[in-house]
Amino acid sequence: MLTNLGEDDRPNAEQMALLDARLDAPEGRTVQSWVGNLPEEEPSLAWRSALNERLREMKPKPGLRRRLLYPGFGLAAAAALAVVFWTAQLSNDEPPAIGPTLEAALVSTHRDSVRAAELAGAGMAPHDLATLHKSSPEEPQFEWNELDVETL
């Protein structure tokens, strides 16, 4: 029944039942364990440094807006702008809630950091922006640490 299956074939109902049985059989599980126990591959530190450098080059650079802000007044003006733009964006362009998961927290934190960099350059940290913005009840906060990241 399964002998003539090709790589691009769509099995019929009977073949699907047979496939499920064979994939869950002890022989199938044995192969799964071989593949699952293959050694981990870790990229080198040089690889990671090169990636970090490329990502840094891709970050939005502070432009004319930063040069026009006077030292001492720049942060206050950026904070006021952040409140105005954040409120406007909430009503028009709020991305859909992903859900209260660790991945959602990573995604949200990354987006906050990108927005903070776009608004005020290096002068405002993402947590400064976050304290200005009251989270909606639909976005639960997830306190994650290194241990949580390792579980991914």
Partner: protein
């Protein structure tokens, strides 16, 4: 970028392990894996959460690996069961209990398994690695590769059968020595 750095920390070894077994050599694998995270960083704003972050990253990795493989023209012939390993025969593996060289053979078995994976087509290798190594579900693999779940299952079956044949041949050679 710190938050994205955490994402790279969490997934770099899994993505690299997948890519390393999908492309021709280690240098290509390093390049492609970097490109995965660069593309992810560039398009992160468009990530809408409909799939998991893991599935999304592996989809980027798979597409880049396929592009690289096409360019390298590394495409073994599609695998079918005709004339190959007879899947209805019961599989018998040599009993390794009490074998003083058991620990050494595990490393050898890993090498044989890696070799078996390398001789599969890209389609079979992808499903085998994503399911049996990276623990993606059938639905996640179907989303990643863009085929129906039934096709994912048949490819997984073909891949495992191919690998069983490779390992059986190796063990038969070992036993007859």
């Amino acid at each position: 970028m710190d938050a994205f750095g955490k994402i790279v920390d969490a997934y770099q070894s899994r993505v690299f392990g997948f890519v390393r077994r999908m492309v021709k050599d280690a240098e290509d694998a390093s390049d492609v894996t970097q490109e995965v995270f660069i593309r992810a960083f560039q398009s992160f704003e468009r990530f809408d959460g409909r799939s998991s972050l893991r599935t999304w990253l592996f989809r980027i990795a798979y597409n880049l690996c396929v592009d690289r493989s096409r360019r390298a023209k590394r495409a073994p012939a599609p695998t079918s069961l005709e004339g190959g390993f007879a899947q209805d025969e019961p599989l018998e593996f040599a009993d390794r209990r009490g074998d003083p060289q058991g620990a050494l053979l595990d490393a050898e078995l890993a090498t044989v398994v890696e070799g078996g994976i390398a001789t599969m087509s890209v389609k079979l290798r992808t499903v085998l690695l994503l399911h049996d190594r990276d623990d993606l579900s059938y639905d996640e693999i179907a989303q990643t590769v863009g085929v129906p779940v039934g096709t994912v299952k048949s490819r997984l079956f073909l891949a495992r059968t191919h690998l069983q044949g490779v390992v059986n041949a190796y063990l038969s050679g070992q036993v007859s020595k």
